[in-house]
Amino acid sequence: MSDKPVFPPDRLDTQGAVAGETLDVAQLPSYVFGARGIMWWGTMGVVAIEGTVFAMAIATYFYLRTNGDTWPMGVPAPDLRWGVLNTLIMLASLLPNHWTLHRAKAHDLGRVRGGMLVCLVMGAAFILVRVFEFRTLNVSWDSNAYGSIVWMLLGLHTVHLLTDFGDTLVLYVLMLTGPLEGRRFVDVAENAEYWDFVVLAWLPVFATIYIAPRF
């Protein structure tokens, strides 16, 4: 390291900590929740990217629709049953998810574990129902362009379900076994916010896949 003075001129060696000379940050918290935190911005960056991907895929759906004389292209619209059921499960999962988020902010380890477990059970449920959704799309990805984009939309969202379930599972195991420090509750909170995104992003995707072809 160079001996040259740094800016501000290096008074450290001669004067030490004189009151008012330095801005002391030792007493600041070592982690924070929400938009004050680094991880929140990282998560929101990912949300912005993936939200744009969803928006582009939906725009593609409607762009292709302007090409077709009939829509959906000579096949029946997807069955509503499983799609609606899954939407309800996902919306319901917001409750334990937000409860977990609040308990994380309170550093309530026991309830955080419980909340995450409930979320995981619901996550497993909507991944299972997703299988039936694929089976009742009534079109294959290689039948025509309509089939391609419908499969892509549903596939794209399913990737999010899987990664979100995986993230939550890993974090849940960590909350059971440790090693733990306060920052891990921020991870739980960020994970819950990402879960919100995955559920809320589903609503326009749902409307596109299931409702749009009926009009």
Binding site: F7, P8, T22, V25, M56, T60, G178
Partner: protein, 650 residues
Amino acid sequence: MSATWDSTVNHQPLDRRDGATGATAATDELERTWSERPGLAGWICAVGHKSIGKRFIVTAFCFFVVAGLLAVAMRLQLARPDSKLIGPDLYNQIFTLHGTTMMFLFAVPVMQAMAVYLVPLMIGTRNSALPRMTAYGYWMYLFGGLMIFTAFAIDMSPDNGWFSYPPLAGPEYSSGKRSDFWAQLITFTEVSGLIVSVDLITTIFKLRAPGMTLARMPLFVWAMLVTAFMIIFAMPAVMLASTMLIMDRLVGTHFFNAAAGGDPLLWQHLFWFFGHPEVYFIFIPGLGFMSMIIATFARRPVFGRAAMVLSLIATAFFSFGLWVHHMFATNIPEVGKAFFTAMSMMIAIPTAVQIFCWIATLWKGRLHLRTPLYFILAFFFILLLGGLTGLILGAVPLDLQVHDTYFVVAHLHYVLIGGAVFPLFGAWYYWFPKITGRMMGERLGRWNFWLFFIGFNVAFYPMHHLGLAGMPRRVYTYGAETGWGPLNLLSTVGGAMIAVSVLLFIVNVVKSRRHGEPAGDNPWGAASLEWATASPPPACNFRAIPVVWSEEPLWEPLRRPTHVSGLAVDSREVVSTTVLDAQPDHRYHSPSPTPWPFIAAIATTVMFIASIFTPWAVVWGSIPIMIAMIAWFWPRAGETRKQLVLEKRP
């Protein structure tokens, strides 16, 4: 094993904190804490923004040189009519790889690379916010580049142009794997570009030195903030499009197949929705370099700072409304074309505002003519010409006349080289002393500049005439009866001059690194924080984090408090501040070195490349990635114990 968690352990003795006590021991320990580990393992584990930034810049420069050599090969082939030097198939691969490399492996990454190195220093912090992600982004970028050049070596390089239009790039007209390699290269570089953007935004919003409000932020940091946001909203379009293309080719989807309800124009919309903003996220960092360098060499703050920032933001917004001007030769409605013509004219306004602000700055300043400023001044001349031909191409009737001719080739090189590469070379001369501690040679610098400037105009100016004379782009040869021979030969001579000039630059870098004049902290007398620390900067960047009181901290008298104290010296701690006002908010534990980003990048590379050959790779290839990511995330017990000592609940 059962978890315990106790937030009451918080006994950090004072001599374990920076900035306050007079102990040199503390400063030494701070330096040890922030140093990368030694040896090959340390190189792989590195997460410091300076280590990653430097290798990012060098890698991007290597791709620039290789893509430049491909350009030289093309110029040799075109130097005379009916040349047999390079056959049509190889020529197709060469121009595709030249464009693809320059756009995806050089122009965008090199700007991010400069930002990875410079932004934490400019805003007065010790590392970027998400350094492990940045390391992962670098490795993905490197492996993607290596993949495409391996494909080139085995004659499997893409050959459909850098924008890879279907149906030509689709399953019907491009058999084999060439287009798939192109599509996966896009995935690699977009993953890298997006990750680095998230890192830059988070760093800029949350890690600025206390007192550096958004209004006081250096203009290069503003430029990179705007660029990072643009990347986040533009790059997903091309990632989605390239995924659709590879799916059309591999699993029989029909996104671009008109016979099954798809649409080749969908590709053009998605590609250019990304592609036009891309021009601006190459250009806007260049504007950032301009503002920093002009202020320093004019020895006064940039005139019209608020107008400069607003212009950057306006340019970013307008750039998303221009994409259709790449599609004037398609059957989209005329009223749509009229809108995009209007937008194309409008985007000239914010750029003009900035140019006039710089001219005012130079006019009222006391100029200090050194090599960086030469490159900056060349910008005005070259970009102006490129901008004027841009107005021509933005008008539908004129565009149709010169569409797909060398006129377009001339235009795009004038704007991209003039708007980005000249400022970039200026930036390399300007920040080289900070990175290495030594000045670059001024004499070689002048040779470098004049050969580049003259060579550039000799190479590209004739292309305007060739285009107007009707010479189409992408042809591998032409007949003698066309009369295009002499101007093409002239252009090749210019290309050779650029090659020599870049060679001189490399000589200058190699020589100056060893024998250059020692630079000192602030050789140019600049105003921004990166010049406040040693050259090269210590591992911790600043022994004490500065407190910022003005837009030009190094040109203003010191005010108290001058710096931050109280950050741990035995753990990588930085101070995080509020987004708008940069008030101290919390202490952030910056991630330590780890090999997992490297391992995760290898796993991702295996999956991406294997998926070119079988779609099932996406399934089994994800498992190693998942394992690597979990190992990356999983906290280590020793590290956690150390953090518990420093912990303080919000």
